[in-house]
Structure formats: C-alpha cells, structure tokens
Symmetry: C2
Amino acid sequence: MADRLALFTGGQFADSHAKTAHGILRYGEREVVCVVDETSAGSTASDVVPYARRAVPIVAGVEQAAALGANVLVIGVAPFGGALTDEWRAAVLEAIRAQMSVEAGLHTVLAEDDELAAAAAASGVELRDLRAAPPGLSVPPAERPDVTVVHTVGSDCAIGKMSVTLELDAAARARGLESAFVATGQTGIAIAGWGIAVDHVISDFVAGAASRLVHDGASRAPLLFVEGQGALGHPAYSGVTLGLLHGAKPDVLVLCHRAGSTDIDDYPGVPIRPLPELISIYEAATSWVDHPAKVKAIAVNTRGLDDDAARAELERVRAETGLLAADPVRFGGDELLDALGLA
Amino acid sequence: MADRLALFTGGQFADSHAKTAHGILRYGEREVVCVVDETSAGSTASDVVPYARRAVPIVAGVEQAAALGANVLVIGVAPFGGALTDEWRAAVLEAIRAQMSVEAGLHTVLAEDDELAAAAAASGVELRDLRAAPPGLSVPPAERPDVTVVHTVGSDCAIGKMSVTLELDAAARARGLESAFVATGQTGIAIAGWGIAVDHVISDFVAGAASRLVHDGASRAPLLFVEGQGALGHPAYSGVTLGLLHGAKPDVLVLCHRAGSTDIDDYPGVPIRPLPELISIYEAATSWVDHPAKVKAIAVNTRGLDDDAARAELERVRAETGLLAADPVRFGGDELLDALGLA
C-alpha cells in the first residue's frame, strides 16, 4: 500500500522549525493527504507557507487526517532538542490506534518507547525512525572517493541548507549532469529515501558517518551535493557541523544565510558573524584536516521579502562578500550552480 | 568488596593508546593487582611505562590475574574506533567466567551484548560501561554557572590532555584552592568516579553534555579543570572537540602538544599545524559562540626525552609561542598553574 502522508506540525506549521513538513511538501515525491495543525487548520498549506507549493488541506486533528485516508503520520517538526513531547505523544498514539504508521526523525526513538511499540504492535502498523543510525559506523578512512563534493554550510540551523542542496542537485540533473543529493538529516532522508542523520550518531562517529555517505553517494553519481547541518557558530550543534565538514571533505562550499538574521535563532544574544568572516571560518576549518575548500557562492534565503527587496538583498550580499549571491528556492538553482565552476 | 583491578591492554601496554591503563595506574586511587598484557608480561608496569609510576606485575593472561586475586577486569586501551575485537571478547568472557566484573569505556556497550550479558548474569558479576550516556541529555542552556573553567585542548588525541588536567587540579588543590577535575572521557571517569564520555553521546548533545558537566562541577567547586578530547584538526574526532569547547565555555585554555609530533597519529600525512596557528584556531573557535577565551600556556608532553632535552624543548616552545611551556607530568603542575593567572 503506497504511503499517504499526514504531516503533523503541532501548531507550528507556519514556523521554520516545521521544516520537515515544508520540505516534504516541496521536494518529496510521496502523496501528502493533509497537514495536521490546530493553529493553521482550515487553510491550505501553500497559502500559509508559499515555499511548500502544494495546496493540501490543513486539518485540526489526527481524526480528520484518518478520515481523509492518510495511512502514515509524519512528525513534521524538527524541534530544538529533538524530544517527543507529551502533546505529540497523544497525537502519535491516536494515529496508531487509527491504523496509521508513524514516521519521525526525533532523537526520541519511537521503536524503543514501550508504550508506542506496544500500541503499534497491537494495531499492526510501523514505527519508522528516520534518525536511527545504521549499524557498523566507525571513524572515517583516510581516503575519499574520487568524486566532486559540494557541501552547503550555514550561518545558523533551519535556514534552508537542505533546500539549497536539493535545488542545486535538481539544476545539475536538469543540465544532464550525473549528480546526487546526499541527505544528512531526517527531512532529507524522508525526501530522498536514503541517508544518515549525522546529528543522531555517536559523536565520535559523525565524521565517519559523513564519510560513509560520500562513499555510498559515489556509487550513485560522480557529483554529490551534501546537505549541511547546524552551523560552526551554533552553541548546541557546532560539533555536528564540524564533524560533517571534516568527514565529507568537500571540494566546494556554498554558504547559506537567511536575509536579515543577526542572532542565532535558538540562542538570542549570540550574534551571527558577518558573512565575510563566516567565509573565512568555514574555509579555515576545511584546511585544519588538510583538505582545503573555498566558498564559491552565497545562498540567501529571502523568504518574507518581496521580489524587489530580495534582489536588493542579493545585491547587498554580493557587494559584501565579492561572491555571487542567489536565492535558488525563489529564483531556481541555475545561477548558483554556474558560480560553483563545476563544468 | 573493594575493587581489585586487573588492567587488560591486549599486547599494547607500551603504546599511548593504552592510556586508560596508564592513567588509572598513575592517578587512580583503586588497588591495581596487575596488568594483563602478553607482550610485556614478566616486566613491571613502571619499568615499561615510567609515567605509570606503580610497580605492579604484568601477567600474560586473565587466568594469572584471577590467581592474583583481581576481581575486576578493566579494558585499559582506548582503541581507534572504540570497538571490542574478537580477541578482547575472548579475554572478557574468560574474566567473567573467573568471577571478575568487567569495566570498559568502549563504544561497544558490554551490557547490550547478548553473549556478554548472559555470561555476566550466569557468573553474577557486573558489566560497567563507563562511556554510557546519562539519561535526559539535550542541548545546552544559554547560561553557564558563575565558575572559572580551565579547559585543555590539543594538537592531537592521546597526547596527555587528561594528565595535564589532573596535574593542574592537583596543584591547585595543593595550594588550598577549591577545584575539581571534570572528566569527559572513559579514563577520566575511571579515575574520578564521575563524568560523561562526551564522545559517546548523540552528536547533537555533545555541547549539552559538556554544559551539564560544568553545571554538575559547579556544585563541587568554583574552579573547574575540564579535560579536553580529540583535536580540532583530527579528521575523525574534531566534532567532539568543538562541541565540548562550545558546551564547556572555558575562561582559560591550555594547549597540549606532544614534543616532536608532526602528523595526526591516527592519520599519517595529515599535518599538525604549527603551535602559534593552533593557538589562533582554538581562540577563534571560542569566539564563534561569543565566549572568547585565550590560550594562556602550553603543556608539552616530553615523554621519551631526557631531562635536558625536555628543558630544551620547553624553551623552544616558549620562544615559538611567546607563552609559558611546561610539562606538568614530568615537573609538576605549579609552573603551568602560575601561568594561568587564576589567583
């Protein structure tokens, strides 16, 4: 039976932390029946979040989703800290009892939760933990496959690194290049159907997981677009970012930034460094392990600006950094791809 | 029944990766009956590794350790990758059958291994996983307790950061300062009896684990010496290093280096950056999360050099960096402590 998804966002559909729901709507290939979100219920998804593109209904509860024929409830929020809250647990249990499988990328492992596992067994449905680490992870080998690796890095988390990566891959494939998107987080995995959530593996193995993804990707295509995670200046997630950077050993970096952001979203008061400094920081970090890479372009998330304001912001960033700045989500990935100098 | 330890090193007692055995011998307060190491059997520990200080016998196998009255087998090696090998598994099973508990800081979780768990249950002995993450870890809060945090960082792993941290703490307490050693790895935990192995937690929670240690440490003393892990230039472990650095939010850094090392030990061909550049790298990394700290002194591991050569090497490092350079393991921690400017 094909998946018919209901995307649960716990009242946060309009917020950037609902990026899993947004990403599946925009880039996923599976059928989405509805969004479940009590705050935005009654609207359609693309009206509330234009990025999402699909005009699926937003309903208030799991019961309505089941009535619309959904057979999989997807936790569509990547919450700060990644835990399953009591409120969400109630929704998950309701879905299981309504014969829906549950797919989630939380740090809370659904299948290891006694209450959820018992309920799923009783209903005969699946619990899919997208963040579960594959067996056999370890430290990375010294050598990287002979492929070209493009890696998105950022000024903060939840600013659109995955979207930029997907747009670059789509633009490359549209030109006939053999390329692959390499998912490193739960949303990317939900979209691509493979990958490793590098933020959920044992910290000693972050680089090893990234390296394995590049090795696996090399069997798919000679040009890999590896999704970034977190930010080197993020007080909670910087370790994931650096381990991924060192394990992926990119040839080219794309720096992602959200227009107008001045502080780390999860840590108000911790300033985001100016873009030229961020470029230096990321380039320097690649050189620490003797695999130097350059930032070749800036991807700017201009969500919330009108087209004129967006173009002005891109021009400002170009002047500030001396690099091409583009918003591939708004204007397509071609211009950004050109700037990478891959062909 | 008090622990009577046998330290198992799988033929590697003389190697720096047997740092868990070496650290327990030098700094631990528990009784050590013997070392189990077929390569060095017949010698005494302090003859093979003077750092270890204790003249305990080295025996060839678990059987002899049991005959000497050992009741706990400690895996005394921190192997690259942290897995339990088949050879070690045989020794662990032999120990369990000889009524010995087993203590280990591997990534392989002994208590989750069906064969070992069944054997331990049958013999009525404990399996102690020092690296097991405590429950309830998450991302760090924004605020750090109002204590002074000294943190050791390094040019590579397994070069003596823990020893430097312990020597500084001992020197501080000898002066009547209220201080505490904060263990962040398995050897430190085996010595101190508390701590978190930050390299074994989910990568998203490395900084959160470090932050929790500082909060826990603050209830013990107003001056904390937080053990470092890995190195920012280590291709496998850099993510752990950065997460720990950002979670601990140190006030003062001590850069640790092994005299004469030019490449990352686990990755020959990946050069260690010059010390002045490492100082800049670590200081810059602290500033990324808006909690800048300075490297105040260099701890140089001069093991293998005679006293004159060691003093010459310290003088060379002083000239190269403009900072005090000392080997606290060889000459005591006082000089290094003075350079931190804490009093």
